[in-house]
């Protein structure tokens, strides 16, 4: 009978999964990666996947720059160009910076708070697989008639069916929904982890700043992403089912899309920058051998930024004609948000001041962040001068501003994190000379690419134009910017060479290669599956540092005998029988449901939607009924 066959095959599948699960628990082989719920492995998968998307986004950038290098360029036609910049922006934001930050949340936060894993390890795996599905789904649009072409911000009504009949925008909207689910799951997971799973004695104000920024970012995610989800649903309902949300012919206003998008979009940019700021706040104290200057101010400024980020969104809409009251109010709120952002710069300066500074690559990258971010932040202040923004809006001046903060800031910060923490998870240091070469090439390349764009914007070059005529005064600057882009590409090649070389032949790192201050440096490199043989008891901020050093009367550190990582490592032999969560396939199975549902909607194949729902439910039920560890 059909029912028995279904039950029988389900049981057969479940039994096979159980077998594979047992094998995966050995940490050997491909299945152990596919079924992993270990935050460290998930972090590595996030990092590698995000880096591959970074290369894709970089190639898209190079294509754009090749097209714009000369006036009347012939490299990309109008349609391809529009797809190229849409994919570049969407990729870099959702498939690179956010997942790279997630990689660090995963790798570092449990270690910094003295935990063995995150609160919900399977949900964590689910976040990763859903991210992968979302990214692949988005890129698969190329095979279904073309990638989305409406910009990463998808303004209606250009993205409505009437003006964009192909499937591209549907892939964009549904792809972002899938990615949103991934981010939301991650957000919930890390808030609970940080609030609930800290080692004894680690009060909130003893947590490392990176963990704090993770907490703040996670709150931003869970409050901002739902607003985007609503906007995307409304767009999809307009496109797929004939709703009228953004249809001016029926009284709908395109401004509703903008309000919803930017209510999400502005907090989103702080989601993109706060983790990198957290990384800088870890790297500077380590390489200056001094605590972070003004820890409470740095933490509270992060919280202030998060709150205020929900009150500035209209500054993306100054030219939409909302009127002087709205423009003035949001002009003031935008001016104000510069304050908590700027304060951090001064605190970082204070950290370096009076320190004992060693110029290793993580520090260089962090310095790159600081110098570039100051410029980016200040250009942001010029944007907040509303009437001045009437000229700057939608020009290359804006492009320069956000690349200054997102590349000059976030990417440099994330690279600082890579050089800083890769030794902890691989057991090997990245080569220092190649690292410095990467840094300088990237810094020079970055500036050569983006400083001309400030000038281009002020010379009147709008954004998102496929080409431009000669005689506008733009030719030289565009050419320079293109050269810079290739310099950046070269610097990334250097990085890739460094990684490949160092993973095999790099200097062994040991537990504490940088003489660090936080708990992750107190355990071996690479980190054992259970993280800590014994959960530490925390007595102060920078507890690990205080195990290694006490202070003399002048406040200078004096080493404590046998207080370092070596002392901690001895405990490895006493590792109790530590129970870790078991691997699981259900997060991946559940995640597979989403692209199936999405393809179903795009292709109007509701049988496929139903199949996707069944797969999703199978994954969820299997997950719910499976014991967390056995």
């Amino acid at each position: 009978m059909a029912q028995t066959t279904f039950e029988g095959s389900s049981l057969g599948v479940l039994e096979a999964l159980r077998q594979l699960r047992r094998q995966a628990a050995t940490y050997q082989g491909i299945w152990s990666w596919i079924a992993t719920v270990d935050h460290k492995r998930i972090g590595i998968m996030y990092a590698i996947t995000a880096f591959l998307f970074f290369l894709a986004g970089g190639v898209e950038a190079l294509a754009i720059r090749l097209q714009l290098a000369v006036p009347e360029g012939q490299v990309l036609d109008q349609e391809v160009y529009n797809q190229m910049f849409t994919m570049h922006g969407t990729t870099m934001i959702f498939l690179v910076v956010m997942p790279l930050s997630a990689a660090f949340f995963n790798l570092v936060v449990p270690l910094q708070i003295g935990a063995r894993d995150v609160a919900f390890p399977r949900l964590n795996a689910f976040s990763y697989w859903t991210f992968l599905m979302g990214g692949l789904f988005l890129y698969s649009s190329i095979f279904f008639g073309g990638a989305p072409n409406g910009g990463w911000f998808g303004y209606a009504p250009l993205t409505e069916k009437a003006f964009n009949p192909g499937h591209g925008i549907d892939f964009w909207a549904l792809g972002l929904q899938i990615l949103g689910i991934s981010s939301l799951a991650s957000g919930f997971n890390f808030i609970v982890t940080i609030l609930n799973m800290r080692a004894p004695g680690m009060s909130l104000l003893r947590m490392p700043v990176f963990t704090w920024m993770t907490l703040v970012t996670s709150f931003l995610i869970i409050f901002a992403m739902p607003v985007l989800a609503v906007g995307l649903f409304q767009l999809s309902f307009d496109r797929l089912f004939g709703a009228n949300f953004f249809n001016p012919l029926k009284g709908g206003t395109p401004l509703l899309w903008q309000h919803l998008f930017w209510l999400f979009g502005h907090p989103e940019v702080y989601i993109l920058i706060l983790p990198a700021m957290g990384i800088v706040s870890e790297v500077l104290p380590t390489f200056a051998r001094k605590p972070l200057f003004g820890y409470p101010f740095v933490v509270f400024s992060g919280i202030a930024i998060a709150f205020m980020s929900f009150g500035v969104w209209v500054h993306h809409m100054y030219t939409t004609g909302l009127g002087p009251v709205a423009n003035s109010a949001f002009g003031v709120s935008t001016i104000l948000i510069a304050v908590p952002t700027g304060v951090k710069i001064f605190n970082w300066l204070g950290t370096l001041w009076g320190g004992d500074i060693r110029f290793k690559t993580p520090l260089l990258m962090a310095l790159g962040f600081i110098t570039m971010f100051v410029v980016g932040g200040l250009t942001g202040v010029t944007h907040s001068m509303v009437p001045s923004d009437y000229q700057q809006q939608d020009t290359y001046y804006v492009v320069a501003h956000f690349h200054q903060v997102l590349f000059g800031g976030a990417i440099f910060g994330l690279f600082a994190g890579i050089y800083y923490w890769l030794p902890k998870f691989t057991g090997r240091l990245l080569d220092e000379r190649l690292g410095q070469l990467h840094f300088w090439l990237m810094l020079i390349g970055f500036n050569v690419t983006f400083q001309p764009m400030m000038i281009l914007g002020l010379l009147g070059m709008p954004r998102r134009i496929q080409t431009y005529p000669t005689g506008m005064g733009w030719d030289l600057w565009n050419m320079i910017a293109t050269v810079g882009a290739f310099l950046i590409a070269l610097s990334i090649l250097v990085f890739i060479v460094n990684v490949i070389y160092s993973l095999r032949r790099g200097q062994k790192a040991g537990a504490d290669p940088w003489d660090g201050r936080t708990l992750e440096w107190s355990i071996p490199s690479p980190v054992p599956p259970y993280n800590f043989a014994r959960i530490p008891v925390v007595r102060a901020r920078d507890d690990f540092w205080h195990h290694k050093y006490r202070e003399d009367e002048a406040g200078r550190p004096i080493p404590v005998v046998a207080g370092g990582a070596n002392g901690h490592e001895e405990q490895e032999g006493h590792a109790e029988h530590i129970h870790m969560p078991s691997p699981s396939f259900f997060p991946l199975i559940a995640a597979l449901g989403f692209p199936l549902i999405a393809y179903g909607f795009v292709l109007a194949d509701y049988a496929l939607v139903a199949v996707g729902v069944v797969v999703l439910l199978f994954g969820i039920y299997g997950w719910a009924l499976e014991p967390a560890s056995e």
Binding site: A119, F233, L260
Partner: protein, 204 residues
């Protein structure tokens, strides 16, 4: 297996709150933003439709009041189910869980009937702004109720197999939190969408 789950439930947490309970509250907080955006859209477009049908053309307030009452009652039975679970009164818990699910299904049936009536009167997703914003808002709410019913029925089946008890009453409590939230959202929708319109004097 049940033993391990038991141990897991009593792990010490830095806040004292169970991990899953904290997660549910966070989830509901984000859902507040989700429904808030849908409601804001509805309110923005209120009175802006250029053609009918308009709310006063289709709404049947007495009918919707009854289905609202049914949903409100389901929150009561849900609370009773949670209470029974905590006290280990498993038979009562199962009864109240089933009641809640059935009341939820009645509410959904009422919604389905209502929507069919509206469509007959000419209100579709594409008719006007009212149609779009109304159906998407109440439709997503209905979807949330449906998921809730699914969760309740699943709990009921598991309880029937002896897998839900006082030791893992948290599962019922979590379902309760979700269910009450969905109910509160309905109260907001009923007030702002159904009741506010006639109070404002009807019209477009």
């Amino acid at each position: 297996m049940a033993q391990r789950a038991h141990v897991a439930e009593h792990l010490e947490t830095s806040t004292g709150l169970d991990n899953r309970k904290l997660a549910m509250w966070l989830f509901l907080a984000s859902e507040a933003l989700f429904f808030g955006s849908l409601i804001a859209t509805y309110l923005l477009y209120r009175g802006q439709s250029q053609e009918g049908p308009y709310p006063h053309d289709v709404f049947n307030i007495p009918f919707t009041s009854v289905s609202s009452f049914i949903l409100l009652m389901s929150s009561t039975t849900m609370a009773l189910a949670v209470g029974a679970a905590h006290r280990g009164r498993l038979h009562q818990m199962r009864t109240w869980l089933l009641c809640t699910a059935l009341l939820g299904i009645s509410f959904l049936a009422g919604q389905a009937f209502e929507f069919t009536e509206f469509v007959h009167k000419g209100l579709t997703l594409s008719s006007n702004l009212f149609g779009s914003s109304f159906y998407v808002l109440t439709g997503f709410h209905g979807a949330h109720v449906s998921v809730g019913v699914l969760i309740l029925l699943s709990l009921w089946v598991m309880a029937a197999r002896g897998r839900i008890g006082q030791h893992n009453a948290l599962n019922v409590e979590l379902a309760g939190l979700y269910w009450h939230f969905v109910d509160i959202v309905w109260i907001l929708i009923f007030t702002l969408v159904y009741l506010l319109d006639p109070l404002a004097g009807g019209g477009a």
